[in-house]
Amino acid sequence: MIELPEEIEILKQTVRRFVEDEVEPLAYLIDEQERVPDQLVKKARDLGLFGLTIPEQYGGSGMGPLGLAVLREELGRTNMGFGSFFLLNNGIGSKGILYQGSDEQKEKYLPKLASGEMIACFALTEPDAGSDAGAIKTTAERRGDYYVINGTKQFITNGPVADVATVIVVTDKKLGAHGGISAVLVEKGARGFIQGKEEKKMGWHGSATGSLIFEDCTVPVGNLLGKPGQGFAVAMKTLAFGRLGVAATALGAAQRAFEMACDYASQRVAFGKPIAKQQFIQGMIADMATEIWAARLMVYTLAKDMEADLERNTEASMAKVFATEVAWRAADANVQIHGGMGYIREHPAERLYRDVRLLRIVEGTSEIQRIVISRKYLSNPL
């Protein structure tokens, strides 16, 4: 068992109960309707979920990586689409403002992001630049007191519904990824800013993903985060924090799959006895339990280290790639153990299998994480 500070333990119990009592009963409905009911969003606001990591001076709860890990682990246990509204406000949608924003920008946005009055998104990916983030083409050109933005962002979580977007843009084509990329805030309704329609996705139903289109979109120069050229650093720092979050979500999902699998295996009778008495099934359960323990140790060791402000970028990649792959195998084994039932839409095993698939792709694919990890060791041979 991993010892957690008291307030983090209370957070865990609170969120666990909220998820079980309020979210889980609606998980199927959210999946089918691809929408989180307003009533539930309101409850999440009342609980303070939007402001978990935003400092207390701006109306949030000011929790750090450990709080985020606990929150995301618990949310990984239910319909993953539910959390995306407020996870962006707590993660990549607000971190740029927090790390690089001016006092004025912080005052303007953070309280509203903490309360959930505003929904945030973070736009890096483009049709021709995903893993290769340095290849983005969306430009922001300075004209007097304004930036004029042109280009298209793709697959942006909360894109269709966001009130404020942190958009990663090229401000100097010659410098490119080496000082030519900046982060700029664009608000809903800005001239020339089009929020595209929601994509249909395999999983994460209820989380709206779509394109952002900029056609001579004009925003004041004051909307730039930090100085011109600091955008790539913002993006990378923001994503490192996000990797912990994805790893923790994966851990929660794996744990849920494991619990579901144990329950079903103990109940389902075939050939005159519960399938849990079959060695094949026992092997699957043992592997799941073992891998989940390893993932848990990684995620919480990482979270504790990050809480202590230690630089853990490589470890964040390791935890992300490992935990998301553990979750993937656990979700698959869970479907297998459920047999035909695991393939039926009304059964949560089916949804979990679809939801978990995304985790190996977003916030840096498994391949990109492996590149990041190997680079550390190969460029610095011992």
Partner: protein
């Protein structure tokens, strides 16, 4: 209105309880501990009364250090202060000893009302609330499902279910009320509340601090001794009613309910 809530920490209802090798206690390693759900109704009711009339809510717990987590949870829900009575000598105390320690901790506080759960979901004794009221010399009203404070804040009216009827009791204040399921829906501790709770006062008191003699507490001093704990019998397998038609199955079911289960 100053209100005191007494709370106990108990194993989560989902915990698999294992009997310890001594046969008289349970294995406490790896147990997930929670606030006793009946006490939580008390916390919620106290907060609602405070929100209406003002005043302070003080939460009092007893047990090892881990109980601070349940007290902090109540503080995160909105209570103002906490007191933890903790002392190695308390380990194994019976309900009456617990009531004595609690009484010593609260008797000099300024209070109008005390809430506690009608029982702890672990031992199911339901004795502490009434004992504290007796030791304090204040009225005890058990199993409240509705609590109303008079406008002049001098009396309280409590509804209590009795065999499908409702008994309405009026009492002067201060009084002790034990909370029953149905009293309210406890709120969640909000996230900002959890952070605020870290800064709220939580005092620890030993038996010596309370002026109590340690020899009157603990396993040795128990008036009620536990002889043995036994696990519940394994649940027997269910029965599937056989029959060709619904009529046949219904007839068979009726026969079994009558002859075997003897419920008809």
């Amino acid at each position: 209105m100053n209100i005191i809530v007494l709370l106990k920490q108990v194993p989560d209802t989902e915990t698999q309880i294992k009997i310890a090798p001594d046969g008289k206690s349970i294995v406490t390693d790896d147990i997930k501990w929670i606030m006793n759900p009946y006490d939580e109704f008390g916390v919620e009711e106290a907060l609602r009364i405070k929100e209406k009339f003002g005043g302070e809510v003080t939460v009092v717990g007893l047990g090892p250090k881990r109980v601070t987590e349940s007290i902090r949870t109540a503080l995160a829900m909105g209570a103002d202060k906490g007191i933890l009575i903790t002392d190695d000598a308390l380990e194994g105390s019976d309900s009456l000893a617990v009531a004595k320690a609690i009484t010593a901790a609260v008797k000099d506080l300024d209070y109008d009302l005390i809430f506690t759960g009608q029982r702890g979901i672990d031992d199911d004794m339901g004795v502490v609330g009434a004992s504290v009221a007796e030791l304090l010399g204040i009225p005890n009203i058990s199993l409240g499902i509705k609590v109303e404070i008079s406008e002049d804040q001098k009396t309280v009216t409590v509804n209590r279910p009795v065999e499908g009827q409702t008994l309405v009791i009026e009492s002067s204040l201060p009084a002790l009320i034990t909370a029953q399921k149905g009293l309210n829906e406890p709120r969640y501790a909000s996230l900002p509340g959890i952070m605020k709770a870290k800064r709220k006062p939580l005092e620890e008191k030993s038996l010596a601090d309370l002026g109590l003699d340690a020899s009157e507490f603990g396993t040795e001093a128990r008036k009620v001794k536990i002889l043995e704990l036994t696990p519940p019998p394994e649940r027997a397998a269910g029965k599937i009613i056989e029959g060709e038609t619904p009529q046949e199955k219904a007839a068979e079911l009726a026969r079994l309910l009558h002859e075997e289960a003897k419920v008809l």
